[in-house]
């Protein structure tokens, strides 16, 4: 029982990172129906910026987070204007934007490769006061606990904002019908740029925390999470922020159980069996969005 509890907590820690990554990725997916794979590179760059600020300037992790979020958000906005926007009017916009985003991913990853000289870098020791906490039978580090609280808190805030604010309604309007959105007075470009900014900022935050908790800053950091994020989105339901949270947590817990009870070599098997299972049994995911209703 204690062991089960411990592995569940471990899974939630891992899953909260997946969720943060997936919700940003899903936000763009839902708003523009494009597979913006360069999100992975924005994640990587979030880690690189965090690493640079902590190593070169000696900042503590907490101080870097706003800067990292801003930088990653702006990078993603640049990606929107340089890679995506001019393609949206095309007939094959989704495919063209995917290919363009893929190109951006490759370029950004390559630049990161050169910057890091191909090496795996580490966040300096002591950027965050890590110490073990014992909550009853469960162990969790202060860093892991912070990650869970920050991730779930931010995603909940995002979900609330999407549902209850004018900005959230505008984002959903643009997602549903860009042309009508502009007729309703919405500056579609500004909303899209805002979506890319929020998505990039979440990716940057997730990356800075991952880089610190898992001791890794490399050019390929973001790409490794791309497929997991996709799985989280399928499980949670495309286009739903709450779904990305649920999907991320479920995938995180499932992969941790696989490692804990079976063997880490079964981990990907379990994750993708879950993905395929959902596609068969519940293709809309846990939280199917109202946009699905629209297509009935």
């Amino acid at each position: 029982m204690d062991f089960w509890l411990q592995q569940t907590v471990n899974g939630i820690v891992l899953g909260s990172v997946y969720a943060l990554y997936a919700s940003g990725f899903g936000l763009v997916m839902a708003s523009l129906r494009i597979f913006h794979v360069a999100h992975a590179a924005v994640f990587t760059w979030g880690a690189v910026v965090a690493w640079d600020l902590t190593t070169r300037l000696g900042w503590p992790l907490v101080a870097t987070l706003p800067v990292v979020m801003l930088a990653a958000g702006l990078l993603n906005v640049a990606a929107y204007f340089l890679l995506i926007r001019h393609l949206l009017k095309r007939q094959d916009a989704e495919l063209a934007a995917f290919i363009s985003s893929m190109g951006g991913l490759i370029i950004l990853v390559e630049v990161a490769h050169h910057l890091l000289d191909g090496a795996v870098e580490r966040m300096p020791a002591g950027v965050f006061p890590v110490s073990p906490l014992e909550l009853g039978p469960v162990r969790i580090t202060t860093l892991h606990a912070t990650m869970v609280v920050v991730s779930i808190g931010l995603i909940a805030l995002l979900a609330w904002g999407m549902a209850h604010t004018q900005a959230g309604r505008e984002v959903r309007t643009v997602a549903a019908d860009r042309e009508t959105a502009s007729l309703l007075g919405i500056n579609v470009d500004r909303v899209s740029a805002g979506v890319f900014f929020a998505s990039g900022a979440l990716a940057g935050l997730a990356a800075a925390m991952v880089a610190t908790a898992f001791n890794v800053v490399s050019a390929d950091l973001g790409s490794g999470y791309l497929v997991i994020a996709l799985a989280a989105m399928v499980v949670g339901g495309f286009g739903s922020v709450a779904g990305a949270l649920a999907g991320g947590l479920l995938i995180g817990v499932a992969s941790t159980y696989a490692t804990g009870y079976l063997d880490s070599s079964y981990r990907d098997l379990v994750v993708f069996a879950l993905l395929l299972g959902f596609l068969v049994v519940r293709p809309t995911g846990l939280f199917h969005t109202r946009s699905e209703l629209a297509r009935v």
Partner: protein, 383 residues
């Protein structure tokens, strides 16, 4: 040390064919220097990924040994010259380099590391009757006994198991990077030294970065020692996360011969008390004069691979002297002389580590238990 899995056969044959062509057309061979001198072929990885860790320190140690052996050569009136070719950490260049050395008339060729390189050159050396000393980690084809490996991963790794038993470990766990066969082999070899075997076996992938699940498993299995059979950087990351998650304060943490200074770069203070087997470490008995001479000559501290180069250098010198004493110095006479030379008095006099080369081409090297000093350099473990 060579950890790379065997490359495909075709990659060996093609460069081999190119080498034969080059040889047939007689192009691109260095001219032999003094025709009387024994040409010692050093096929070192002086560029490419293996250069910094293996090729360059090996070359330094090797050259230092032959320089120090000059007095002994003079006494025996033997002239020795080193012909160096850059293997560039790749099979094609290694085969080309080997062919140039063969054309220069070298009866012996030494290659510092990388199994695929050794595996490409060994059949050629057997055909050409050239004694070949290789740092390959894997088995080499050796039909006429001309190929010798000077790396022994097994003995020091098994010694790790014994070390843990001697230090009171009752329940030993292991973390293996199971997507790399070398680490599975190292784990199995470590287990041979443990009477009870491993009580907990956790597998990770080389790219994994979050270890909370496997660490929870190890805590649950109540181990008092953990062997990290993973890449050096991953071992560092594991120890950091052990420290952060807590519950491993009284657990002995041990590594394999694959551990390098990179582990310390990642883990820093978390690598305190980490023990791991190495072929050689600074501070080993009888090594101080070597360390000093090396530092004087190259303005840097020797690594385990410098030490290996030095030890192999003296073994080669002893073999040449023994072959010369018995008659001609050629590939066959060197082949016959090498096993005895590796444990000869001359080598023993200058020896800094135990390395016995056997007739069947294997090596027996006891190694040493090492740990990281406060500045991150390796040192002989305190007990």
């Amino acid at each position: 040390m060579s950890m790379k899995p065997t490359r495909r056969l075709s990659r060996l044959i093609v460069p081999g064919a190119i080498g034969v062509l080059l040889a047939a057309t007689g192009c691109a061979g260095p001219s032999a220097g003094d025709s009387d001198a024994v040409q010692v072929g050093l096929l070192a990885n002086l560029s490419g990924p293996a250069a910094t860790s293996f090729g360059v320190p090996f070359q330094h140690g090797f050259e230092l040994a032959l320089q120090q052996a000059k007095a002994a050569f003079d006494d025996a009136d033997v002239k020795v010259e080193i012909q160096t070719q850059d293997a560039k950490s790749e099979v094609t260049s290694a085969v080309t380099g080997y062919n140039k050395l063969r054309q220069a008339g070298a009866p012996i060729v030494i290659n510092d590391s990388q199994s695929p390189l050794g595996q490409a050159v060994a059949p050629l050396a057997n055909d050409d009757k050239i004694a070949f000393l290789s740092g390959a980690g894997s088995e080499l084809e050796n039909k006429d006994g001309f190929a010798f490996r000077f790396t022994d991963l097994g003995t020091p790794t098994t010694a790790m198991g014994q070390y843990l038993t001697e230090h009171g470990a009752k329940r030993v766990g292991v973390i293996v990077a199971s997507d790399n066969p070398s680490f599975a082999t190292l784990a199995d070899t470590t287990e041979k030294g443990l009477p009870g075997g491993f009580d907990s076996r956790q597998e990770v992938a080389s790219t994994d970065t979050d270890f909370s699940a496997v660490l929870a498993n190890l805590r649950d299995d109540d181990v008092d020692a953990v062997v990290l059979s993973v890449l050096p950087a991953q071992a560092g990351n594991l120890m950091l996360q052990m420290d952060q998650s807590g519950g491993f304060d009284h657990v002995i943490r041990a590594g394999t011969v694959a551990i390098s200074s990179e582990t310390y770069t990642v883990a820093e203070d978390a690598a305190d008390d980490f023990v791991f087997p190495q072929v050689w470490a600074p501070g080993m008995q009888g090594g101080s004069s070597f360390e000093k001479a090396y530092a004087d000559k190259y303005d840097e501290s020797p690594t385990a691979y410098s030490a290996l180069g030095y030890q192999v250098g003296w073994t080669v010198a002893a073999a040449i002297l023994a072959a010369d004493e018995d008659g001609d110095v050629d590939g066959a006479s060197l082949r016959d002389a090498i096993p005895a030379a590796s444990t000869s008095d001359l080598v023993a006099e200058h020896s800094i580590l135990s390395l016995e080369l056997t007739k069947d081409g294997a090596a027996v090297s006891e190694g040493v238990m090492a740990s990281f000093a406060d500045d991150g350099s390796m040192q002989v473990a305190s007990n």
